[in-house]
Amino acid sequence: MRLDRTHRGWLIGSVAATALAAAAYQWQAATDPSGPRGDSWIGLALGILAALMILFAGFLGARKKLLLLRIGSVTWWMRGHLWLGALALPFALLHGAFAFGGTLTTILMILLIVVVVSGIVGAVFQHALPGVMTAQVDAEHTYEQHERMRWNLRREAYETVAAVCGPLEAASAERAALEGFSGHAPREPKNPSHMVGAESLSRLYTQRIVPFMRNERADRSALDSATSASIAFESVRTALDPLAHSSLDDLAAICDEARQLRRQGRLHRWLHGWLLLHVPLSMALMVLVIVHALMALYY
């Protein structure tokens, strides 16, 4: 979700609520002989509000599942999730008078801090990364298709090189892998043309393209950068028969597509990876918040 002007109301409301809570806390600190503490009336109110905010934020997941439940739009719930979830942290800190207390409350505070911080980081990612992805990844694909697409690109690369150089003994492992993945061998010309410079193309393929597309130390590969990839392909082009230049261009395009898949995959993991921390910890947080509330009422 982008953090745009539509969030202004939530922002103002959150700042005002925090200021109000801080003022109440300060008033209590100044007037209550016992000082600010969680079991005072103000402390209780802050704690109840923090718990409600956490539970509200947690219900976003349920709201997404229950699309027929028309209690506010999902967008509204998302904004509420963002702002009330973040607001829960200062309210909880004020509730506990900036002390973590016992084991359960300490776990709760740590969980809340991690959840809120990861949520803020995630919100920033979700605000910024889609733009970066649009700018840097022309050939964007569904992330779940990436694996299959990489295999297809590998097959295309092999077949393109084989069309110029003939069956590649040096890439027999790659050939076997491709056959193993799809169940049929990649196409190879029966009478290869043996063009001039085919060896240099073959070398480029076996030494750089195959490891790159297999993700073997791809970060260090010259093909991971458009500029150095271009240099690598141009160095082969000078030695290659002009009739094979179109194949070289195809190979460059395949590598470019693979590079973009890698970049998109990297951005995708940043964009969604934080959820692996945020969501499970949120679930534990909600369970323990309920336990904490029950214990506080009981004792």
Binding site: G102, E144, P280
Partner: protein, 490 residues
């Protein structure tokens, strides 16, 4: 061979949406794991009856032994709900648990289970801790013990009473107690705490004893055996609990034999001044030390009546042992010779006359001629000059700060004259040698440069709780074990 984009459709898996993406599957699995992990943790604790992790904080050291038994203090379940429902009883619901154990050392209202505030006579301050029938100075409102004694805050919370608790009333005492004779506005020790009463109203030391501190502390004072000595404060003034020989005692008894005053713990008060321990070595009471009638010629430091009894006993014994002394009287010249050695009414008459005459001579010397007692004491003649005088009791106060407590032991790092600045120059008993509040604030104030930094909270000197009536049963093993009290207090 150019890339065939017509086959692009073949590059994607059109049925991918039927499979759960690994990322989402992992997220879901982790969510279940963490949720059920949290539930499992709580369930495991409940099954083991281990409620400690649910504490709002670590227990105090004093209560660590019952830390796992929540219901020892949290006697009523769902107290939080009671509070939310506005049940006023929830405020003091735990007081009963506190007073079950601590009711033996503090006074409380057994009907409301509320601790009583210490009450002083604001003028005399005496007795300092409890006037049994004294008016309840502050109304004992329904204050929860936990309002001041904050449990579950580790080792410090239970006894670290914030000034706010006291200031709640004392910042404007006149508002809640219009007839109070105490200071009406006190909000901090370093701010508006008034001068100590004894300094403020310039009370003179009313001790009926003549003591010149300046003389006693001057160099080359003639000590025992007329040997020059330099006395120090600790030769006579030591906190309770300090065990060391007194240098000017009658026969250097151990200090452990000294009488403790009000038992407030070691160092809380100074040991009382006693003639035998502090004065006798120099100020001996003697008459005719050359004669062998009295051992060493010494007179006991007792009341005139007791001295007379002592003299009568010693002189009678001497006359029995040395009957010839009776012949020294002119009236007994007729009985010289063997007659004096024979017991009989006549000899008893002579002995009695001799003893009475000697007693009269000694008492004349002590009380009228040489006036030995008057050197330090005041004496009165309620029965006329013919009777025995009365030595006015010194009535030396054991505590000067009646409303506060001062621990000399804790201040031993400071030289005596750093606080008692007038001690070396004081010549009159009436001089009160206590320091004023300004001197205390030198250290007991917020740190500023090289000064200040010592504790300056109310509880440093004052206490809230009233002590229980002596003999009131506040604590017994049965009550502790059953968690119920059998007898009220006070």
């Amino acid at each position: 061979m150019a890339r065939d984009h017509n086959n692009l459709w073949n590059r994607v898996d059109v049925a991918y949406h039927r499979r759960r993406p690994p990322f989402r599957a992992l997220k879901r699995w982790l969510s279940f794991a963490f949720s059920f992990g949290a539930i499992g943790w709580v369930a495991a604790l409940a099954m083991r009856n281990n409620e400690t992790p649910f504490d709002s904080g670590p227990p105090s050291d004093a209560h660590r032994m019952i830390a796992g038994d929540c219901f020892r203090c949290h006697v009523e379940p769902w107290r939080g709900v009671q509070r939310l429902m506005g049940d006023a009883r929830s405020q003091t619901a735990m007081n009963q648990a506190c007073l079950t154990c601590h009711g033996g050392s503090i006074a409380f209202d057994p009907q409301r289970w509320v601790a009583r505030h210490v009450s002083y006579d604001p003028r005399s301050g005496d007795p300092p801790y409890d006037a049994v029938n004294a008016a309840p100075v502050p109304q004992d409102s329904d204050v929860a013990c936990g309002a001041c004694h904050r449990e579950h805050e580790g080792s410090s919370g239970l006894l670290e009473i914030a000034d706010n608790q006291c200031i709640r009333c004392h910042a404007d005492l006149g508002a809640t107690h219009p007839s109070t004779e105490f200071a009406r506005q006190i909000s901090s020790f370093v701010g508006d705490h008034p001068e100590f009463g004894i300094i403020e109203i310039r009370v003179a030391d009313a001790t009926k004893l003549k003591l010149n501190h300046a003389v006693h502390l001057k160099p080359n004072l003639l000590g025992p055996g007329r040997i020059p000595v330099q006395m120090t404060c600790s030769d006579c003034h030591r906190p309770t609990g300090v065990n060391a020989d007194w240098p000017y005692a009658l026969s250097s008894p151990k200090a452990g034999s000294s009488v403790a005053t009000q038992s407030l713990g070691n160092g809380a008060t100074m040991q009382p001044i006693r003639y035998a321990l502090h004065c006798a070595a120099c100020h001996k009471l003697t008459v005719d030390p050359e004669s062998n009638i009295l051992p060493g010629g010494e007179i006991p430091h007792e009341s005139p009546e007791r001295i007379r009894v002592y003299l009568r006993g010693q002189l009678s014994a001497h006359a029995d042992e040395h009957p010839e002394v009776l012949s020294e009287d002119e009236d007994s010249s007729a009985m010289r010779g063997p007659t004096l050695r024979e017991a009989g009414p006549e000899r008893e008459r002579l002995k009695s006359a001799w003893v009475n005459e000697r007693i009269g001579m000694i008492e004349q010397l002590l009380y009228k001629d040489r006036r030995d007692c008057l050197y330090c004491h005041e004496q009165e003649w309620p029965n006329g000059a013919g009777g025995l005088p009365i030595i006015v009791p010194p009535s030396m106060p054991n505590r000067w700060f009646a409303h506060a407590q001062f621990d000399h032991e804790r201040h031993k790092i400071v030289a005596c004259n750093a606080c008692h600045t007038k001690a070396t120059s004081s010549t009159a008993t009436g001089d009160v040698l206590l320091p004023g509040i300004t001197l205390c604030r030198t250290c007991h104030a917020p740190a500023s440069g090289s000064i200040g930094g010592a504790d300056h909270r109310c509880i440093t000197c004052h206490t809230y709780h009233k002590r229980p009536v002596p003999g009131a049963s506040g604590l017994n093993l049965e009550a502790l074990q059953s968690g119920a009290r059998k007898s009220g207090n006070p």
